[in-house]
Symmetry: C2
Subunit: 342 residues, 2 copies
DNA sequence: ATTAGCACTCTGTCTTAATGAGTGCTAATG
DNA sequence: CATTAGCACTCATTAAGACAGAGTGCTAAT
């Protein structure tokens, strides 16, 4: 079903107006505000047809019309024009680019903060949990008489460390000996598979360090849970109060409650964005609470492994043009950083 | 100015009732609901005097009265009785205790989550920024052909690490040589004082590793900023929607906006809690936006150094008795964990 | 000193009426 | 024949007025 040139023009005007004002738009306002070259009555007829086709909705019989999810989809895919970034935005982006980060989490978190400031919506950063937890390298580093630092490098480039108590005085050489033992036995093994037997074999080999080795094994098993923790950051959560659709305390609350559900957010982002930049609008989102929102999500990879998502969430009446433009830029910058630094 | 027995009894009843209902309480309700042994008229007279003394406020001429900050202060210091924890709470606390954490941040974050669930208010966890950033130990650990891991231990027990590129192939022995060099020159030095000259001296000593050393120095200077980052976590932020005093969208918004201001929160917590458990009520808080809230804050130390705060924030009409009881327990548990594990 | 009775105050809620933006339909127009 | 002007009708929002309910302060009685 192809829409006529004129219908597209009218639809685009309606969407633009609604994005701007959040008010249902009527035929008269439209003809007065935009130069469409036809009278209000004609627009009325066209609008009526656009409603039949499912592009417009009428909140009640005698009100103006608002765009449907279908209309936004058409708008995002075909109608909208990319926006030039404002000076203020350009500058912020330059700053974002200039900083250096040594952990992907911090990089994402920082970008999320800028993203929220640039778009005036709520931004979400998510550091993807590690899929595998294979031991790559273990190193014990001396600290005090009775403490040492265990450094654990996992295959995916993740590093974990922790101060552990020895229970016995150990010098650097002894620690190195234990490190070597651990590496020969555990390299390539999955953290979740640290069995008791594993420990016993090692303890037999260096029985004088039995207690220390046992402590380490215990720690490795515990840490595997911590590594799988999902990290989700937000910025600009209070921005939603700017939008009349969330002026209702119940709506605002359920929006914020949704953000607090980390598991849900994780799935939402993973589902919404798989490759590059993607937009999911209203009911396209699988979760009901998110169906009055739209998400623009970018996905980041290092060596073909997804390491994180960056996302903007707002009402379906979102300034897609602005958001997409900003995210394209951030996406480009971030990918550059990731390539260079990780 | 000493309050009579009867006045105290009435005041306590008013506070209890207001904490429960959030409605200004009048003399009739009071005499009907609580067994005070005197008529409504007498209560009226007493209330009128309590108002003169500054313990009660009257929102408008013909309404009931609400407690002032002064009244809450009296209540917290002298009137309230500690509450026994409910079964549900006991259980959650046991769970909280059972988990092991290897980073103070995670420990605090987790406790904050439980705290919010237990009290039905908003909880805040703050990991205090490190005051000093003196190098305690540096260790380089081999990873790939072209990458190694730098582990940095700072005096306060903080550990930072990062994957760095060598720019040249380095084996374990060579890395150890560089580690030793770094330790002899940098131990005890402040991270913020890493000067160029410092680097040049070291580069002269091992000129063949010039590039690597330069990279490390650069990293150390950068990381000093990251270490000072404040970490603030929240839990139960949407709980405030349960309270009628935040049913106004403007109030709710400004509350949430306050939480987003990390610097402000940091100061608020640091000021509010210095030792053990402290309560700051309404206008006792220095920041204006926090003056309709009360904070119950606990402070945590390791080796006499403040490492974090845990706090509950809610309306001044807070169930102090419940909150204080819960926090005493968490405080005890947490101090135990800190003593054992850090 | 305490209490019952009463007039008065203020808020919140409900009803009603007025306003205004918008629609759909019909008939006129180029 | 597509377009447009005109008109009756719908629905939401807002303002004003009426009313009930909870509370107070004061006075007089106990």
């Amino acid at each position: 079903m192809e829409l006529s040139e004129r219908k597209l023009k009218i639809l685009k005007a309606i969407i633009k107006d609604y994005i701007e004002t959040a008010e249902p738009v009527g035929s008269r306002t439209l003809s007065r505000k935009y130069d469409l070259g036809v009278s209000a009555a004609t627009i009325r007829n066209e609008m009526s047809e656009l409603e039949e086709y499912g592009y417009l909705l009428q909140p009640h019989t005698s009100s103006g019309r608002i765009p449907s999810d279908k209309a936004y989809r058409l708008y995002v895919d075909q109608l909208m024009e990319s926006k030039r970034l404002a000076k203020r935005q350009q500058e912020l982006l330059r700053k974002n680019l200039a900083q250096k980060f040594h952990e992907i989490q911090n990089l994402l978190r920082n970008s999320a903060e800028h993203l929220a400031e640039l778009t005036d919506y709520t931004s979400i950063a998510m550091a993807e949990k590690t899929q595998e937890t294979l031991v790559k390298h273990i190193q014990l580093v001396p600290v005090d008489e009775d403490r040492f630092l265990l450094v654990l490098i996992i295959n995916a480039g993740h590093v974990k460390n922790s101060l552990l108590k020895t229970g016995q005085a150990l010098n650097q050489e002894e620690l190195q000996k234990i490190s070597n033992l651990l590496n020969t036995h555990l390299q390539g093994k999955d953290l979740r598979d640290m069995t008791k037997e594993q420990g016993e074999i090692m303890e037999e080999e260096l029985p004088e360090y039995e207690r220390t080795i046992r402590g380490i094994l215990l720690y490795l098993r515990e840490i595997s849970k911590e590594i799988e923790r999902i990290d989700v950051f937000f910025s600009g959560t209070t921005n939603i109060f700017n939008f009349p659709e969330f002026n209702d305390i119940v709506k605002a609350r359920s929006f914020l409650a949704m953000l607090e559900e980390k598991e849900l957010m994780k799935n939402l982002l993973s589902l919404s964005g798989r490759e590059g930049l993607s937009v999911s609008i209203g009911r396209e989102n699988l979760y009901e609470i998110a169906q009055e929102c739209s998400l623009v999500t970018t996905t980041y990879k290092v060596d073909d492994r997804t390491v994180g998502h960056l996302s903007v969430i707002g009402p379906t009446r979102m300034d897609y043009s602005k958001v997409v433009s900003v995210m394209y830029r951030i996406n480009r910058d971030l990918n550059r950083s990731l390539k260079n630094d990780f």
